[in-house]
């Protein structure tokens, strides 16, 4: 199991006061909160911050962590305590008094080996349960290919469901769901799977499962809402003289006409060829002028002929004061 340096995560010294830990966390949390941040790894960063904060902000947990960290620093390999919550005592029971936010987060195995399991605890959160109660709704993320949205698809997904056994222990149970990915579904939208959430109590209905859609990165096509953009390499003569070329699109190759005198970065719109839907998105091809390498003699001759034809051409004219 990997040892986690919580002080480094928060960027504070080991001697930092609780106030300094809190300030460091707040500042970084504002920067990396996934609902606010534009950083590409915001979600992972925020999770690490929340875990570090949860470990250090409570003085008892911090003391336990410091003890482990000291052993680590003196060269002894890190070994988790043999059983859950064993080795250290905390106020309260089970979850070591974790905050509600922490109970809803999924922390690392390292954290859980020290302070107990956080996941699944929220299920006991509601006040006194009536004997018959509809199961809770669950949320998860599902990553799909962009092309699944273009065509619609049937996908089998694996879910890990926290289940509490008779003894009160939480275990992860795997289950597989066969899900229809509707055509035109967009990044950030949610699918509702009726009755696939938590089992109801006393014969009541099961909850629903909500899946948030996330697209896997595509090597060619970039997604922005319902619009898709891709770079389309063209030769200098295609860009200069205009041409009719075959361009790849998510729906297959199309004939595309390049207007004469096109410059680098010119955007060509293919209306309605973005993500399908009631209001389909557009597809944008961004021209990328690719130069043939001058290493071969015929190419070199051609460039030299071009240079001779334009003795006074200066692409940097506009830059001169």
């Amino acid at each position: 199991m990997e040892f986690k340096d919580y002080y480094a995560t928060l960027g504070v010294a080991r001697t930092a006061t609780q106030d300094e830990v809190k300030r460091a966390y707040r500042k970084l949390a504002r920067k990396y909160h996934p609902d606010v941040s534009k950083e590409p790894d915001a979600e992972a960063r925020f999770k690490a911050l929340a875990e570090a904060h949860e470990a250090l902000i409570d003085s008892e947990r911090r003391a336990a962590y410091d003890h482990i960290a000291q052993r680590q620093a003196s060269g002894q390999p890190f070994e988790p305590p043999p059983g859950r919550d064993s080795g250290f005592e905390f106020r309260g029971t089970g979850d070591g008094g974790l905050s509600r936010g922490a109970q809803e987060a999924q922390f690392s195995d390292f954290f859980e080996s020290l302070f107990g399991r956080s996941s699944g605890r929220q299920r006991g959160r509601r006040d006194a349960s009536p004997s018959s109660m509809q199961g809770e709704d669950h949320h998860a993320k599902v990553r799909i290919d962009l092309l699944d949205s273009y065509r619609g698809a049937q996908r089998t997904i694996s879910m890990h469901l926290p289940v509490i056994d008779a003894a009160g222990h939480t275990a992860l149970q795997e289950r597989q769901l066969d899900v229809r990915i509707p055509k035109g579904v967009r990044q950030g939208q949610h699918l509702r799977l009726s009755g696939q959430g938590a089992v109801g109590q006393g014969g009541a209905k099961a909850g629903d499962l909500y899946l948030e859609i996330e697209f896997l990165p595509h090597p060619v096509f970039r997604v922005d809402g319902c619009d898709i953009t891709f770079d389309l390499p063209v030769s200098p003569w295609e860009a200069a003289l205009g041409a009719s070329i075959t361009a790849p699109t998510p729906q297959g190759p199309v004939q595309l006409s390049i207007p004469p005198d096109s410059s680098q970065g010119r955007k060509l719109r293919l209306k309605g060829r973005g993500l399908p839907g009631k209001e389909p998105g557009d597809l944008y091809a961004v021209l990328l002028i690719a130069l043939p390498p001058a290493a071969l003699q015929p190419t070199k001759d051609a460039y030299e002929a071009l240079a001779r034809a334009f003795p006074h051409y200066n692409p940097r004219n506009a830059m001169e004061a």
Binding site: R100, E174, R175, V179, I181, L193, S194, L209, L211
Partner: protein, 102 residues
């Protein structure tokens, strides 16, 4: 439940086809009813209907409610503070999409 069992589930795009009642939205977002009431008071959620019993929330309300609750919980904000953050985020998105309209 047999772990190897394959369940076929019917799926629906929430943002396009789902309308939530007050109780539905509380359950789906994991919020207490007082929190959803507060988000309506803030104007962050705009149900149709005159009283909580006949309120109807549009599909995108789920994402808005969950974002606001996450911001409040994880950045230690009040729901009022979270609503201000959400408004500013909407403005930023608007500016990025079309700078001339702002």
């Amino acid at each position: 439940m047999n772990p190897s069992e394959l369940t076929t589930a019917h799926s629906l795009v929430v943002e396009e086809y789902v309308v939530f009642t007050f109780t539905d939205l509380c359950r789906a977002s994991g919020a207490h009813d007082t929190q959803v009431l507060a988000l309506v008071e803030e104007g962050l959620l705009e149900p149709t209907g005159s009283s909580p019993q006949d309120w109807q929330f549009s599909g995108p309300s789920l994402q808005r409610a969950r974002s606001a609750l996450r911001l409040a919980r994880e950045l230690e904000l009040s729901l009022h503070g979270a609503a201000i953050v959400m408004d500013l985020l909407d403005q930023i998105r608007g500016l990025q999409e079309d700078p001339s309209t702002q």
